[in-house]
Symmetry: C2
């Protein structure tokens, strides 16, 4: 099944207790696409500047990631700089240079219009709406967001929730949006806005799936080599959506399995900076960790 | 199998966003004993003051909880007062009146000396050592602690860890003790001090079991009726130790099952103030929630 992601392509400068990188490849669409590519081909919509090296796109294409929708615009690529301390559950953003991302409109190439699985990475709800408008007959649309959009474009976000099958938020965001500190209850409240399921990301504590009738908690895979959490959420979403697109089903058991693969893929990504770990990881490695994870959880 | 708990018996005054109680029955030994009593008889060692109503002890005895080891001392019962806000992951302590707990020495009645399963609730490591000295040939000794003892009696605590089979700490405490923010790795470091397993309590995020060869994450049961987290950790430990004592095994699969029952029992306790929910809950209710939890986690 065809899987589309619309999101950012970035140069990240990141500092953690375990080291630092400058202008390393990142961005929600990139982490998502790498993660999903273990399971299914991926189509990317994003924008890069004149300074973006072509080999980064070649590397994506080598993993069966379609970059037809990556537009090169005049100006510089989006840049984000941040640092993590302690338990590294939250980044301190040091600098954001929007650059070409400021004019990103989420325009799909004609060849993407038939996409069946759609992931709207964090971005302006207006752009997320526009993507839904362009896709002909999607089977599953899932949207991420962040505190900025909850604060400044709440109405557009609320209208977006009525148009998606699934919503992804982190714990702080869903508490902010619903005004409810109890996560299971906040998830249920978000369902009232329209989505069939909600995934609450909790960093080192994993994620909680909330549907009308069910809950499912997936812990984070307990890695002792956490190095850089950047991209963990998008890698998680990529593993989840890739598994769903590859499997074809979207029932509760499919979602539980998909969240578990998401947690596995995210745990691999955070063991290195940028895409370093993904570049050294093949599908068999993912399967091995998935089996280890399942065995850990079984008794 | 005989299960012994040594800990506090308290009057708690608690305020949460859902209400408040004044001088309600609480304390680590009380929460633990109620929780464990769903699975096995329990022996309690603790101290109360002259102001402690006998009916509270009658209620314990009605649940097959042996109170021979509860001494009544001159003075007032230990009092704790605290409040919770927001996600209620941490209490703000408003007042502590040590009262008779200040002279508590953990002296066991003769009839407890043959106890096989021993839980040393949070308390001075010197008292915890003294209990181990008194028990003839325990099969499984597990100790809890808190930041105060890590800061002020670290050496005694380290010597205690060498004498126990299992250690229970919350996430902040094990980070403080080991100086490592990565929980799986911090757990492994704590194992180097002696225990065979470590249980890291994470409040609303459940708990992580760490052994030399394995990890197991149990999420919190996703209750939408969280009312008062007081006693959650001790209820969790009670459910865990009660399950172990009832089952007889102490292998990794036994521990996984025990942590899962611990999470279930804790999730019931936090749906009311003081012991309100436990008093209205029978073993069949616990089993029903356990089955629901297992089914949630299965796919």
């Amino acid at each position: 099944m065809s899987l589309l992601v619309v999101g950012s392509i970035a140069f990240d400068s990141v500092k953690t207790p375990y080291g630092e990188v400058t202008d390393a490849l990142g961005g929600s669409a990139v982490y998502f696409a790498y993660a999903a590519s273990y399971f299914t081909p991926v189509r990317v919509v994003g924008v890069v500047g004149e300074d973006f090296p072509e080999p980064h796109l070649d590397a994506l294409r080598e993993r069966d990631i379609d970059t037809t929708g990556v537009r090169r615009a005049e100006g510089k690529t989006f840049r984000w700089s941040g640092s993590y301390e302690g338990a590294m559950n939250e980044a301190e953003t040091l600098e954001v240079q929007l650059n070409v991302l400021g004019e990103f409109d989420g325009k799909l190439p004609e060849s993407y219009v038939d996409s069946e699985y759609v992931f709207l990475a964090n971005g302006p709800p207006a752009t997320q709406h526009s993507v839904i408008d362009q896709v002909a007959s999607p089977k599953l649309v899932v949207a991420d967001t962040m505190n900025h959009w909850i604060t400044y474009t709440r109405d557009e976000l609320t209208r977006l929730l009525a148009r998606v099958d699934g919503a992804v938020m982190n714990d702080a965001e869903i508490r902010m949006y619903t005004g409810d500190d109890n996560l299971p209850r906040a998830g249920r409240k978000l369902l009232e806005e329209g989505p069939r399921f909600v995934v609450i990301k909790k960093g080192e504590h994993g994620a909680l799936l909330v549907t009308r009738d069910d809950f499912f908690s997936v812990p984070a895979f307990p890695t002792t080599d956490l190095t850089d959490p950047t991209g963990a959420g998008d890698s998680f979403a990529g593993g989840m959506m890739g598994t769903l697109a590859a499997g074809g089903g979207t029932g509760t058991d499919d979602l539980k399995r998909a969240l578990t693969y998401g947690a596995v893929v995210a745990s691999i990504n955070v063991e290195g900076f940028s895409l370093d770990r993904f570049k050294a990881t093949v599908r068999d490695d993912v399967e091995a960790r998935y089996e280890r994870f399942r065995s850990m959880m079984t008794f």
